[in-house]
Symmetry: C2
Subunit: 485 residues, 2 copies
């Protein structure tokens, strides 16, 4: 089918002109979210929740394959428990929502809505662990958490959000460190292969560490405006929480020791990165593995000839039986309107069927990842080969979205050795700025004050540079510096 020229839905400004306005508009217009009647919160509508379900299924399978089990811990945390680990409470107390009344009475102790569950889970682990035989404990929780936020941006910053939090306890420091890195690796692989997001990963600086952690690692995606988006974190908590919560065990040698714990989490924020990194002026472009709808049929009616609708439903039913997520749009709208609508919603492949296709036993597959006029964007295929060809097209879309995002990231990793050039680049948000760095909190604070950027992840020194680009002190590490969401 040839495409009639169609005006973009008026309510979506082009992404290339105003990322922020585009982002909010597409989240609403594609019906991923609605703003909720309680401040700072959003409703995840069915199409948005479909993204979350696919993320959950893919991550959950990876957690189970690495030996983790799911469990559920309470929403509410007594104040006395939250204050047991000093750095932790200092980090989270300002963001806590407090329950003070229940069952018609004022409570004798305030209850925090969990901002994260280390303290509850630490308390339980102290009860469950007696001997080295009880270790490791490898548990994950899918849950909602609340952190009081001043501003709201769908997926990126909301008062309540959905996430998973893994919490493990180990007999030795090395094993805990390995777990922390293993789960960082799971996140990195998930980002690459499911979310089609290339990320930079590594340890965080001391200032950017999780409150109470010995070491925090993260994966960082780069957004089109040059800002980084932290998309997953993995924390080595050492013995900080096991000492605070008395997670002690009798080791094989009879000595009583504190366990080593880790925690790691990914939230619906990752979906914000997916939306922002892959979208284009026409709307969302959803990686097939996350797409609630992998392909949409657009049957084309010519006068009284409505055979395409029946054919579309037949083909869709067959694909659904094979476990594919497809839909037929048989609404009373023009094909051009539907093309624009489903492009805006980011469905990876559309399947056009007109009367001539019905006669010829063919359909036309059109990929969402490619621009109009590009050679592989659309092709006519025989209906007998539909499932195979559709699966192949979905793989190609998945790979192509990753390749495009990878090229965009690579183009914006900039190695800088000059001090002035560094501060200018950081202010201008050119991307991930790669510098030799001193690893000092004072230097990080200065960079943050000067250009609202921070180190995102660190890595070992390489090459000849021995001086911190930002301050001239001796360099200890290399750092990627960027402004961040």
């Amino acid at each position: 089918m040839s495409e009639a020229p169609v005006a973009l839905p008026k309510s979506i400004p082009p992404k290339s002109e105003d990322l922020s306005a585009w982002y909010t508009a597409v989240c609403l217009k594609a019906e991923l979210i609605s703003y909720a009647p309680v401040r700072g919160c959003v409703v995840l509508r069915p199409y948005g929740y479909g993204l979350w379900e696919n993320l959950q299924r893919e991550l959950d399978a990876r957690f189970k394959a690495t030996g983790h089990e799911n469990a559920y811990f309470p929403l509410l945390i007594p104040e006395s428990l939250l204050t047991k680990e000093a750095e932790h409470v200092e980090g989270f107390a300002p963001e806590v929502a407090w329950v003070t009344h229940g069952g018609g009475e004022k409570l004798t102790e305030r209850l925090a809505i969990r901002p994260t569950s280390e303290v509850t889970i630490g308390t339980m682990y102290s009860q469950w662990v007696e001997s080295y035989r009880d270790l490791p404990i490898l548990i994950n929780q899918w849950a909602n958490v609340v952190r009081w936020e001043k501003a709201t941006r769908p997926f990126l910053r909301t008062m309540e959000f959905l996430w998973q939090e893994g919490h493990t306890a180990h007999a030795g420091a090395e094993e805990a460190r390995e777990e922390t890195l293993k789960m960082l690796g799971v996140y990195e692989e998930f980002a690459r292969n499911v979310a089609a997001l290339p990320v930079l990963s590594g340890p965080k600086s001391a200032s950017e560490r999780f409150p109470g952690a010995v070491e925090t690692y993260s994966i960082e995606a780069l957004m089109p405006d040059g800002k980084a988006l932290q998309s997953g974190t993995s924390h080595d908590l050492g013995q900080n929480f096991s000492r605070a919560f008395d997670i002690a065990f009798t080791d094989i040698d009879g000595a009583v020791k504190f366990a080593y714990t880790t925690s790691w989490g990914v939230s619906w924020r990752m979906l914000g990165a997916v939306i922002m990194a892959h979208g284009d002026d026409r709307g969302l472009r959803i990686p097939p593995k996350l797409a609630p709808i992998e392909a949409v049929f657009i049957p084309i009616v010519r006068g009284e000839d409505r055979r395409a609708i029946d054919r579309a439903h037949e083909l869709a039913a067959t694909l659904k039986r094979s476990g594919m997520r497809v839909r037929v749009d048989d609404r009373d709208q023009s094909p051009g309107w539907k093309y624009a609508e489903w492009e805006m919603r980011g469905v990876p492949v559309r399947i056009e069927i007109g009367p001539r296709d019905v006669d010829a036993g063919s359909v036309v597959l059109v990929r969402r990842d490619l621009e109009k006029g590009m050679p592989d964007r659309s092709r006519s295929i025989a209906v007998d080969a539909l499932e195979e060809e559709l699966r192949r097209s979905l793989e190609l879309v998945q790979e192509s979205l990753y390749a495009q995002a990878k090229a965009a990231l690579d183009a914006r990793i900039v190695r800088i050795v000059d001090r002035d050039a560094f501060f200018t680049a950081a202010r201008d948000r050119v991307g991930m700025i790669d510098i030799a760095w001193c690893d000092r909190p004072e230097c990080e604070a200065h960079i943050k004050a000067e250009c609202s950027a921070t180190t995102r992840v660190l890595r070992p020194l390489d090459g000849d540079e021995k001086i911190c680009v930002a301050c001239g002190e001796p360099a200890k590490v290399r750092a990627y510096v960027a402004a961040s969401y």
Copy 2:
């Protein structure tokens, strides 16, 4: 293998002597739950959460097959919203936990932690619905809710619990009523075929209705102590919520009308019914379709001959590849100890392998649903037939647990026509007492005051009885009366 006589784990009292003590002990000892550090709450441990995951998967598939989609709505509800529907707030306000402080400040308006989500979802539907084309809306949410409770019993009564709540909006009253009954039917089928629970279902009396509903239907299971356990409810909300929240639409005839809404829910309470109905003196008996572990291998080591352990792991790996949920217990404990342990945990089938089985290429399957000495309880099978025979055994256990529960329910449905006999039976908790009833709240209040029992579900009058057994007024319906959890 012959079974060594093994003492029951000391901490579980026999179910037949003290149901309540048995229930609490088995929930803790089987590691379904732990008590949490916040009052009224429990932790769902991995084995307990495994039950919930299976319940979720089975119910979710049924919701999707009936056209529903999942979404997620906020945890917190502004007070002004909760009070919009008069009966609803009256019913729930006494149970609400209130957030009064957040982000270090006192809030200008209190926020309720959702006890249920009708008011938030009603608010959103009023925004999403404009025309009859936007209807029906068929949405389900998997979520946590909080209701302030004085007492705590694992699964049955906790301050926070996990559940699903379906919320739908329709153009017509008849369609909403059909939806309400359809989802009641889904619950009934799920209870029977997955949870192996026979239930009585039907409309509730006016006093037992959901606050704000026009009609509430429920499914009711019977526990061994003669008390009913409401295991799922489905509410026809009529236009009560659509008027309160302005869910109005322009119909095909151009007239603006209020929608008709429904809501329906099942919580982890259903798992309490599963535990209590099926368990025996030795512990849990979990229906295979809900079992986190469908079968456990117990390899038997004789002196240096440890081949059974390797064989068990090989066979388990093969079964896992076929998607079966199996585990090998290769711990350094006696077989008898392990038999008692896994019987207590309710694993439907155990698979014994000793050195002679290794030689013979066989294993012994032992079913959890049958008593020692019963002819079909254990049998030796060839390893080549293991998957097929195991699947068959699991089906038999599933069917047999249902049959046993059905026989127990049928034996305790008692039709009574005499007033004194009725009050005595209700006080004595003989089971589901089937009476002709007047359908008057005053009569229900009297029954409740006299014998702590209520009507569980109603059905049309049949037979010759025309007088209410409880009060002598004209009978309008038949009612099942029982004390309840």
